[in-house]
């Protein structure tokens, strides 16, 4: 059990990295990874919303939508839940936890249209379908791992970009193109993790 959790968690960070392997959440990856602290703040907010979203959507799908043959409403219900959740979190943080709101608040509205959040809620359900042992707890661990993986990629990449600022880059490559090329190199390094998790947790 514990072994399965560790393996799910590590796989979500390294081999199934949402940004570098599955191309989910590219917009914030390119948009807010310029500075280390914004990258970190954004990832915290994403992780927080991801876990909360899975915590809500998983039971709704499993106990409400699926048994009533309403699985086709999945997309629309999930996106509305996420949108409402983001609003709710923003309001609550603003009122009761101003320091946290000041740190994360500005990123929250962007998260509704972050495909990593909608993606993770759907992917964990898909995993549950093919593997019956993949239940609620496993889904939450997977989601948390996905958030941490998002953070790892963002922070590593922010480091790369801060160095890039000082480089002499050919004119047409300046800005976004060189950012994408460096993202490509970071993705190469993550390819090296493929297959590592099963051997680590054996």
């Amino acid at each position: 059990m514990a072994q399965q959790m560790v393996s799910i968690f590590l796989a979500a960070i390294l081999t199934e990295n949402y940004i570098l392997n599955q191309f989910l959440g590219i917009c914030p990856f390119l948009g807010v990874s310029k500075k280390l602290n914004t990258a970190f703040g954004m990832s915290c907010a994403v992780t927080f919303v991801m876990v909360l979203a899975t915590a809500v959507t998983w039971p709704i799908y499993t106990y409400v939508l699926y048994p009533n043959n309403l699985a086709y409403l999945q997309t629309i219900v999930f996106i509305l839940i996420i949108a409402a959740l983001v609003q709710f979190v923003e309001t609550v943080l603003k009122k009761y936890m101003p320091p946290l709101y000041n740190a994360l608040g500005i990123y929250l509205p962007l998260i509704t249209t972050n495909c990593a959040v909608l993606g993770v809620t759907m992917l964990v359900l898909e995993k549950g379908e093919s593997d019956p042992t993949f239940g609620y707890l496993q889904s939450l661990v997977n989601t948390f791992g996905a958030g941490i993986g998002f953070m790892v990629a963002m922070v590593i990449f922010a480091g790369v970009r801060e160095r890039l600022e000082l480089c002499d880059i050919p004119k047409s490559l300046r800005g976004l193109p060189i950012t994408l090329v460096s993202a490509s190199l970071v993705a190469v390094s993550f390819l090296g993790f493929q297959g590592i998790v099963d051997n680590l947790v054996k």
């Binding site: 191309f23 989910l24 917009c27 500075k35 962007l110 249209t113 090329v181």
Partner: protein, 228 residues
């Protein structure tokens, strides 16, 4: 009149190409461009959603109160995405299999919400439909271009037909994730070079972001940081 309608259609294909110039909808662009046929499947599905949602949102633009417009747009878009998803599942299961999770994720494709917010909610039905069609064709064209390059270099095939087998072994990395980032970066560099713009796409423009209005705080902090 006819000329301006034509303009609504063509601007999305070249001048304001959503992928290469506005840099929107990057996730599906990178993820499903591993082969030319995947790119077409994704492009057609997104275009369909884009045209339908633009049309409906334009029709309802006077009915939807300003306060709830974003949730209303998202609901309408999600509705069309689900319909397209069911149709694809029923009549083209192979496409459904290869697009997988990215098909429902059209909901959060910023091109669609972006066009709803920036164009359809301010214009009448016909220009909105043409705008959606143009943007969709532009999206499909960019996807197809990337799909062809990556499939040709990475697998040595085009639409599944072998092309380079015999004289060049496939460079597998092009169909892996890093190849996606690389080809995309190169294409954007090429696009900005060809269009001869002085203004380089320094980073994803916040102006193009559909939620720019609601994230003005972030834009503000972005700019403040840039000045520092």
């Amino acid at each position: 009149m006819a000329k301006s309608l034509m303009h609504e259609f063509t601007k999305g294909i070249v001048k304001e190409n959503p992928v290469l110039c506005l840099v929107l909808g990057t996730c599906p662009t990178l993820a499903v461009s591993t082969s030319a046929s995947n790119a077409i499947g994704m492009g057609v599905a997104a275009t369909l959603v884009l045209v339908c949602s633009n049309a409906v949102i334009s029709l309802l633009r006077k009915v939807i109160p300003d306060k709830v417009r974003i949730p209303a747009f998202i609901t309408i878009i999600a509705g069309f995405v689900s319909i397209v998803q069911m149709l694809v599942k029923a009549y083209a299961p192979d496409i459904d299999k290869s697009l997988g999770i990215y098909l429902p994720l059209i909901v959060v494709n910023c091109i669609i919400l972006g066009r709803a917010e920036m164009f359809a909610s301010k214009n009448s039905v016909l220009p909105s439909i043409l705008d959606g069609l143009g943007m969709g064709v532009g999206f499909t064209a960019a996807l197809l271009l990337m799909g062809c390059i990556r499939e040709l270099l990475g697998a040595g095939t085009l639409f599944g037909m072998p092309i380079t087998s015999g004289f060049m072994p496939p460079i597998i990395i092009f169909i892996l994730p890093p190849g996606g980032f690389f080809v995309f970066g190169m294409l954007i560099a090429l696009a900005s070079k060809l269009s001869g713009q002085q203004k380089k796409p320094e980073e994803i423009g916040c102006a193009a972001c559909p939620l720019a209005a609601s994230c003005s705080k972030l834009v503000g902090s972005c700019e403040k940081e840039a000045k520092e």
